[in-house]
């Protein structure tokens, strides 16, 4: 199978890769671009370890073909920190022990990041919904929920908005 050029934006940088059209976005990120932060836990869309943001929405990158992201914008775990500063979620994940082995973390963090981008005051139910496709075998999810709640509170405080609790 011949290769084709795919041009898209990843973590704020425009990139152009050449890949066979049947390769997944996960493969392109890890293989072509060396962005190995995003993990492969099943290659079948069941585990959520490979979740990335695609045009503002979380997707399993093993379920997206490379050519589908032509012209799109992708954010991976490597792109969550800005100017060397960790996103509040990245800090609270460490502080609350929201991971143990850390292999689900790249996908889990991106799913939570996607939630907080839309909603900085999520309920427990909304957090559970956001991570419903992310499988974690170590933590039992409790610390993840705590990490998201803490990060959300920090984000609200940083905005200085009224009605924070």
């Amino acid at each position: 199978m011949g290769e084709m050029n795919i041009e898209f934006n990843v973590n704020g940088k425009q990139v152009r890769v050449s890949a066979e059209p049947n390769k997944t976005l996960l493969y392109v990120l890890r293989g072509n671009l060396g962005l190995t932060g995003t993990k492969d836990g099943c290659s079948s869309g069941d585990c959520g370890a490979c979740v990335v943001m695609l045009d503002g929405r979380p997707v399993n990158s093993c379920m997206v073909l490379g050519p589908q992201v032509e012209g799109s914008s992708v954010v991976t775990i490597e792109g969550l920190a800005s100017n060397g500063e960790l996103h509040p979620l990245q800090r609270t994940f460490g502080e609350t022990w929201a991971f143990q082995c850390g292999f689900c973390t790249p996908g889990m963090l991106v799913s939570c990041y996607a939630l907080l981008e839309l909603n900085d005051h999520p309920s427990r139910e909304e957090i559970l919904t956001a991570i419903a496709g992310n499988f974690c075998r170590c933590t039992g999810y409790q610390a993840v929920i705590k990490a998201v709640e803490q990060a959300a509170a920090e984000l609200r405080a940083a905005k200085g908005g009224a009605g924070n609790d």
Partner: protein, 760 residues
């Protein structure tokens, strides 16, 4: 020492930033120039004779650098957890679906797949042996020719069981069945092999036992162990299944054959078909008691389906038998442990190591007994529970057993056990609510008579920074954090000053396997010993410099302290002086887990003697129409001895409970005629976030007197153990139907006895 500055405090793991930024490298992330793709060819049959195996075509394909079969293994063709009966590559007969027959290394994945397809294998399918009860019969066809299918049959007796049963007021007898359960760590097994500069082999290995891996790789390559190096990168979970080696030996063999680096990572389906599962067991169990509820005897026969190869079947059955009486005073015990070979999946270590099966049985029996006697489940457990000083039927005397009853009482208080009947039991016509408890014990450490040791190397540099080298694999359980905390605490420095080098056999002394909830204790003690040596040098130097009596000096928060008050000298100053004056701040330690020698009559072999006690109480809601069970509340009270790292302790409890809920309700590898029907994360149903209630936990800190650093003991396994029986007892309470088989799926919950009334 004064109060802890670091031990007992919430602290992020060293390496947390690497994980949250995606920089942490696991086996699949390792990239090397010229890295080849390795793959294994597996049997499509559960049992078959290999009539022909021809790899010539595959070898001659462009881009293929190595194709190996059993004939190409320079050394021993076997795994060696305990018995060398599982081949790395099959010689003449495949005995389960996960047996590998050949391995290839090629320039890329597609070429490797094509090479696998070009290998010609002719199988003669043989009738498999799939039922352990049939396999046990005399004259049964042998799974391994020349070997008895009954690979283990041991009887252990304490007291006089038959007499006790004869004298009992009440006898409860049931047969229980448990399932094949899958560890489902998120990072599949992997190894990256390469030829190093001296012609030796280096393997990056996703494992629990790097030094045992080294031995196994050397053995397969017929190379001295000194020429083999095993490095653990970040490891994405293990839960027992990476204790025995998997593909890291093949990665070493392929790298050696190709003389190029080789990447060998299992895919999910392959992973689920090949690695060890939790043993399915059939357990006949008899409980005898007085009419007051006092236990008189326990009699158990445990039959484990081992699959074709031994792996850790002896050890798992041994632990199952060790805990089969539960955390109860019972003097008359008879336990028969039988391991049987079949052509089903191989079995071995999975968190709890035989104790979850035992606990499902003894805690179900306890509720059945309480019901029969009209007693409260809490009262009957308190009546029979062990205490400090109780001599177990194994001969072990419990040195610290306060937590058995303390955890029961605390958990009961948290859920308001005595008021549970005031809670609505039929919130809707089709719904039933129930409460159930389970309390367990599980040992920490390998057990009496086994080599249970660990070493570390610790070095403080002139700038006060510290490097800690340990061979203890961190698969996520957090031993790296615990070791860093202990070192920082003893040296009076911050966590950020301690760098823990992940296990590397070229640098780190052997710490044994990360298993049996042992590393926090044994590697923890090794760190304390090494840190004390360096601390001693620093304080001696400080005393010389300041002319202040040594016993008034301490190290804290980066400074020397005098009578607890900060002095102007910093730890860094002292480290620099030591460097200049030639006092080495370097220490090595080797610690053996100690068992007291003043207990002569421990009769059960390899008994553990530090115990994790815990109690869990479940509140469930059962849908009588669908059979669905929802865990509404789960209370967990665990004893950690002392929490070194609270984040890690709570994490172990939460994660263990989640696995326990899966084990109780949904998780089961369905195996038909040796073929696993659901080798995917889609069809092997693991709890997701919505399946876990908000957990209510309490951690007790009752210091462990024996060989535990600062009183802390391993707790990693206990959280998964009581969950299934607690849920089982809650279901019984809800629908008045006892279940004797795991998992408790809708099919087994239905029909609900009095559900007729809800039908229209």
């Amino acid at each position: 020492m004064t109060e802890s500055a670091i031990v007992g405090q919430w602290t992020a793991a060293p390496g947390a930033e690497e994980i949250v930024t995606g920089k942490a490298r696991y086996c699949p992330d390792i990239q090397l120039p010229g890295l080849l793709c390795g793959k294994l060819l597996y049997s499509p049959h559960a049992r078959a004779r290999i009539r022909k195996l021809d790899v010539r075509k595959a070898r001659n394909m462009p881009g293929v650098f190595a194709v190996i079969t059993h004939a190409d293994i320079p050394g021993e063709n076997s795994y060696l957890y305990a018995e060398p009966d599982q081949p790395l590559l099959v010689v003449d007969e495949v005995r389960f679906q996960g047996d590998a027959v050949a391995a290839v290394a090629a320039v890329d994945e597609r070429t490797a797949d094509a090479a696998l397809a070009a290998i010609e294998v002719e199988y003669q399918e043989l009738p498999g042996i799939f039922d352990p009860l049939e396999a046990m019969q005399p004259g049964a066809d042998q799974v391994v020719q020349g070997e008895d299918n009954v690979m283990m049959s041991q009887m252990y007796r304490a007291g006089d069981v038959e007499a006790a049963i004869a004298s009992a007021d009440v006898v409860i007898e049931n047969t229980y069945r448990t399932q094949w359960a899958e560890q489902a760590f998120l990072e599949m097994e992997g190894g990256v092999g390469l030829v190093d500069d001296e012609g030796g082999i280096t393997v990056y290995s996703s494992c629990q036992a790097p030094h045992r891996d080294r031995m196994q790789i050397a053995r397969a390559l017929a190379m001295p162990e000194s020429m083999v190096r095993v490095i653990t990168p970040y490891i994405g979970g293990a839960f027992g299944a990476k204790d025995e080696a998997h593909v890291q030996i093949h990665a070493g063999l392929l790298a050696h054959a190709a003389q190029r680096p080789v990447h060998l990572i299992r895919e999910r389906r392959e992973s689920m078909l090949t690695h060890v599962k939790r043993h399915p067991m059939i357990i006949d169990y008899t409980t005898a008691a007085t009419k007051e509820g006092k236990l008189l005897a326990v009699k158990a026969r445990v039959i484990a389906d081992a699959g074709p190869y031994t792996n850790s079947t002896h050890e798992v059955l041994n632990k199952c038998g060790e805990f089969i009486g539960g955390p109860y005073k019972v003097e008359n015990v008879e336990v028969e442990k039988i391991g049987v070979r079949t052509n089903n999946p191989i079995t071995g270590a999975f968190r709890g190591f035989g104790a979850p099966q035992a606990a499902f049985v003894y805690e179900s029996q306890m509720d059945d007994l309480a019901r029969k006697l009209g007693m409260d489940p809490l009262a009957i457990r308190l009546l029979n529970g062990v205490e400090t000083g109780t001599k177990m039927y194994t001969g072990v005397v419990i040195r610290e057993g306060t937590a058995m009853k303390a955890s029961l009482n605390k958990a009961a208080e948290m859920i308001e056990w005595e008021k549970r009947d005031q809670v609505e039991r039929r919130p809707a016509r089709h719904l039933r609510r129930g409460f159930g408890m389970a309390t367990i014990l599980k040992g920490s450490g390998l057990g009496r008579g086994l080599a249970d040791h660990a070493g570390v190397v610790l070095e403080m540099h002139r700038d006060g920074s510290v490097v800690l080298q340990s061979g203890a694999a961190d698969m996520g359980q957090g031993i790296v954090t615990v070791m860093a905390q202990l070192a920082a605490e003893r040296l009076g420095i911050g966590m950020s000053s301690v760098r823990v080098v992940r296990a590397d056999t070229a640098k780190s002394p052997d710490a044994g396997a990360s298993c049996a909830s042992r590393q926090a204790m044994v590697s923890g003690n090794a760190v304390l010993e090494a840190a004390d040596t360096i601390r001693d040098t620093l304080l001696t130097m400080a005393a010389g410099k300041t002319k202040i009596a040594r016993d008034r000096l301490d190290l804290k928060a980066g400074r020397l302290t005098v009578d607890g008050e900060p002095h102007e000298l910093t730890v860094k100053d002292l480290a620099l002086r030591a460097g200049i004056w030639g006092y080495p701040l370097h220490a090595e330690s080797l610690v053996h887990f100690e068992y007291p020698t003043d207990v002569p009559d421990v009769t059960y072999r390899f008994s553990q003697e530090v115990f994790q006690f815990c109690t869990q109480i479940a509140q469930v809601l059962v849908d009588c129409e669908t059979g669905q069970v929802t865990v509404e509340r789960l209370i967990a009270v665990h004893d950690a001895g002392k929490m070194i790292n609270p984040g890690g302790v709570y994490g172990q409890i939460e994660g263990g409970i989640a696995q326990g809920i899966g084990y109780a309700l949904t998780e089961e590898l369905i195996v038909k005629e040796g073929h696993t029907q659901n080798p995917s994360l889609e069809n092997y149903v693991i709890p997701m976030a919505f399946d876990i209630p908000e957990l209510e936990m309490e951690v007790l800190e009752i210091p462990e007197p024996l060989g535990a650093p600062l009183g802390a003991k391993g707790i990693a396994e206990s959280p998964i153990i009581p969950t299934a029986p607690a849920i089982r007892n809650a279901i019984y309470d809800a629908i008045d139907k006892p279940l004797y088989e795991l998992p408790m799926t809708a099919e087994r919950v239905l029909p609900v006895p009095d559900a007729g009334s809800i039908r229209h």
